[in-house]
């Protein structure tokens, strides 16, 4: 409760809303005491607000929380048996199905789900205390979504690890592949082209950049990007078209500003596009089995380091 002094707005908001939230959360069912629930709310509130947050904002924030799922998660973390039963009935199957969608192989999915269970149950001890991963759930999104996200994070971490091992082995064994991956023509791109591009990119809004990266770097489909952003696929499609056109225009303009003629600038870009096509074709030929998740971002890193 030392935190209370830091943000009295949260404190008072919690006090004001506690009866309502407590009733909504169904804490009794999962065996969570009112005091502990209040403490949880304060903790969550402080984590996601700044000292400058007004009490009104704090209230809004607290009301937006999924208190019922929060209570369940925290009751599980605290080791209440009934809460665990409830949690397992509700989420066990979903968790496995999500793991399967993420890992795409039954065995891998099981392993992934099992390891998450272990984390959730809290076998890892921290200073002799059982620490459940569920403690870090704060009710900002659905518990189910959170579980999926945690699974995905775990998967990405692992994949990255194993991927590195595998690719090193492969590369040393198969010199061909290594050689084929090598001739990435480190574009001795005109520095003017480079800086013009950087300028154009830095002018992008985060969302535009997100869309662009998802599509061109991560190889996401339009549908996937649309679902990530909660918009329709056609919106993304239009956005991408527009972005590609405007980027081109801006880069050309940037290069001309830097003293190139229009023709020179266009040539610089055209050459580039052809390069890219070649590159894509070669990549496609190489990466015949589509990797579990985009290879590009993984590849990007080694190249960054080398370059």
């Amino acid at each position: 409760m030392s935190a209370t002094t830091q943000n009295s707005a949260v404190q008072s908001a919690v006090n004001g809303l506690l009866p309502e939230l407590y009733a909504k959360s169904g804490c009794e069912q999962v065996g969570l005491a009112r005091e502990s629930f209040a403490a949880i709310l304060i903790e969550v509130g402080e984590k996601h607000t700044t000292p400058a947050t007004s009490e009104k904002d704090a209230r809004t924030f607290l009301l937006s929380l999924r208190v019922e799922e929060l209570a369940l998660a925290r009751a599980c973390a605290a080791g209440h048996n009934h809460a665990w039963e409830l949690f397992l009935t509700r989420y066990r199957e979903k968790l496995y199905l999500s793991a399967l969608r993420i890992a795409r192989q039954d065995a891998a999915a099981r392993e992934l789900a099992d390891s998450l269970y272990a984390d959730l149950y809290g076998t890892t001890t921290r200073a002799g205390e059982r620490f459940s991963k569920l403690t870090s759930y704060t009710g900002r999104g659905s518990l189910e979504g959170w579980l999926r996200t945690v699974l995905a994070q775990e998967y990405v971490n692992r994949y990255r690890r194993t991927k590195r091992l595998v690719s090193l082995e492969e590369e040393s064994e198969e010199g061909v592949q290594f050689a084929a991956a090598e001739p990435e023509p480190t574009v001795t791109a005109d520095s003017r082209l480079e800086s013009a591009t950087d300028e154009a990119l830095s002018a992008l809004s985060p969302e535009d950049r997100f869309v662009l990266s998802s599509y061109y770097l991560d190889g996401r489909t339009l549908a996937e990007i649309a679902r990530m952003l909660g918009v329709h696929e056609s919106t993304i499609s239009r956005k991408l078209d527009k972005l590609a056109k405007s980027l081109r225009k801006k880069i050309l303009a940037g290069m001309m500003q830097r003293g190139m003629t229009r023709r020179q600038a266009e040539e610089a870009l055209e050459v580039d596009v052809r390069d890219l096509r070649l590159n894509i074709r070669r990549n496609l030929a190489q990466e015949s089995p589509p990797a579990a998740f985009s290879e590009k971002s993984a590849e990007a890193r080694p190249r960054e380091r080398s370059g």
């Binding site: 959170w146 994070q153 591009t197 950049r209 997100f210 990266s213 649309a226 918009v231 998740f293 960054e304």
Partner: protein, 473 residues
């Protein structure tokens, strides 16, 4: 999608230094669920714009597509066979149905219109060919086209076929609302049915007629196109007075006799039976039946072979009106029990069920009294005088050729069914004034037209036109 210059991709990568600390699962979840307030969403977006790992996590953690909110509902891939579509299909089918009924009513009022009807019935045959489940229809069509029909137009049969077309009307409608996919092809069939009858029979036999028109179409189309002029008088008379048809088939009283039988048969039709079995079974039965001939009670057989004409006529009309779906989908297997009961199996011989031949049969003379066909002439008076409660025919022989079935037994009882036993037509072979009255011991039909009936007294009757005319050597 536009190509993106390579430099752009490259700079996009390079200028996205992977942040060391990733966003926590809470924020990413809330982001994906669109539940972050704008400022926070902007922060997360800024991070995601540069952090491939977190983008990866968000993408992987997307819920299964079915769970997505309604905004994205129309992302679903295949739009076909969804309820809305089926609903529209049903509505469309209903409109076509109504329209065709209207057209037919109009045609019915025009005396010369039967030719065009017949033409359209020919089309029906083509439609039937396209209809997937009616393989028997295909066979029938093939047979019909190969074997020319004798010039004596069987008017009785014509009419019956006319009526046979009516049944699918309601069947199609019923199926339409059931929402099954063959609906559209079916609903076209009513185009060649007579409107008055369509309504009359449809009212009485709801729910029957899945694909039944297919089997009948070719049969009626063939004689008609060959004997158009010869047969016109009768159909004209008949078509011109739809009211008489209605009188002949008093709707409310009679259906009860036939309705229970017909729908139950329809329900059973589902599994296809190999025809070989039929032939084997029937071969065995033919032999068996010959050994039993001695037990015949000749006189009783004559009496019982005649279906009760007066009582049976309306219901027989009924029967013709709904030749029903039975035959088109399945080739049943036939057998005759030691007691002379005709039995049919629709599941390849696993279960057997007695077929009520007399109850579902029509003595041809009973409703074509004005213009006798040769086969009906002599038997008509007898038939009408025979009591309806006569003892049953003892069957001795059965011969099936797809849906085309012949069954014969004591006292010259010979029945023909073109819908695999759903409905029967009493055939009384006669040649040169002599009527077949002996016990039939064997029936052999090489195809739907050419057949040979042998009696126990070693008489041999042959027909070359599907039982319309007979020769006795």
């Amino acid at each position: 999608m536009l190509e993106l210059a390579k430099i752009v991709r490259e700079r996009l990568k390079i200028t996205s230094p992977a942040p060391e600390d990733h966003l926590d699962a809470d924020l990413l979840t809330a982001f994906a669920e669109q539940s972050l307030p704008a400022p926070e969403r902007h922060q997360v977006m800024t991070h995601l714009a540069r952090c491939g790992d977190c983008r990866e996590v968000v993408a992987l953690a997307l819920p299964a597509e079915a769970q997505m909110p309604s905004v994205l509902a129309h992302d679903a891939r295949s739009g076909w066979l969804r309820w809305p579509v089926l609903g529209w299909a049903a509505a469309l089918a209903a409109i076509i149905l109504m329209g065709s009924v209207g057209i037919l009513r109009y045609q019915a009022r025009q005396p010369g219109s039967d030719i065009s009807q017949l033409v359209s019935r020919d089309k029906a045959a083509t439609v039937a060919l396209n209809a997937p489940p009616t393989s028997t229809a295909l066979q029938t069509t093939a047979r019909q086209t190969m074997t020319p029909q004798a010039p004596t137009a069987p008017r009785a049969e014509m009419r019956e076929n006319n009526r046979a077309h009516q049944a699918p009307t309601m069947g199609a409608a019923a199926n339409t609302f059931a929402g099954s996919s063959p609906v559209l092809s079916q609903s076209r069939r009513p185009t060649h049915s007579n409107a008055a009858n369509a309504i009359a029979s449809a009212g009485r036999v709801p729910g029957i007629g899945y694909g039944s028109g297919a089997g009948f179409g070719p049969r009626s189309a063939q004689p008609a196109s060959q004997n158009g002029e010869a047969s016109t008088p009768a159909p004209q008379r008949w078509i011109a007075t739809p009211g008489t048809v209605a009188k002949q088939n008093p709707g409310p009283a009679n259906p009860r006799q036939n309705l229970p039988a017909a729908p139950s048969e329809t329900v059973e039709v589902s599994a296809a039976t190999p025809q070989i079995q039929t032939e084997q079974a029937q071969a065995g039965q033919t032999e068996q039946s010959q050994t039993e001939l001695a037990q015949l009670d000749f006189d009783a057989a004559v009496g019982k072979a005649k279906p009760a004409a007066q009582a049976a006529t309306p219901s027989a009309e009924e029967a013709r009106a709904n030749p029903s779906a039975v035959h088109a989908l399945v080739t049943p297997v036939w057998t005759i029990t030691a007691e002379g009961e005709l039995q049919r199996s629709l599941d390849g011989g696993a279960t057997w069920r007695e077929v009520n031949v007399e109850g579902n049969s029509v003595p041809p003379a009973s409703f074509s009294t004005q213009q006798e066909t040769s086969r009906a002439k002599k038997s008509a008076p007898k038939a009408s005088s025979a009591p309806s409660s006569a003892t049953k025919t003892v069957f001795r022989a059965v011969c099936a050729n797809g849906a085309e079935t012949w069954a014969g037994g004591s006292g010259g009882a010979l029945y023909h069914s073109i819908d695999a036993g759903g409905h029967w037509i009493r055939i009384v072979p006669s040649a040169a004034g002599v009527v077949l009255t002996g016990d039939i011991g064997a029936i052999e039909f090489a195809d739907s037209q050419h057949g040979k009936v042998t009696t126990t007294s070693a008489e041999t009757w042959t027909t070359g036109d599907g039982g319309n005319t007979w020769q006795k050597p």
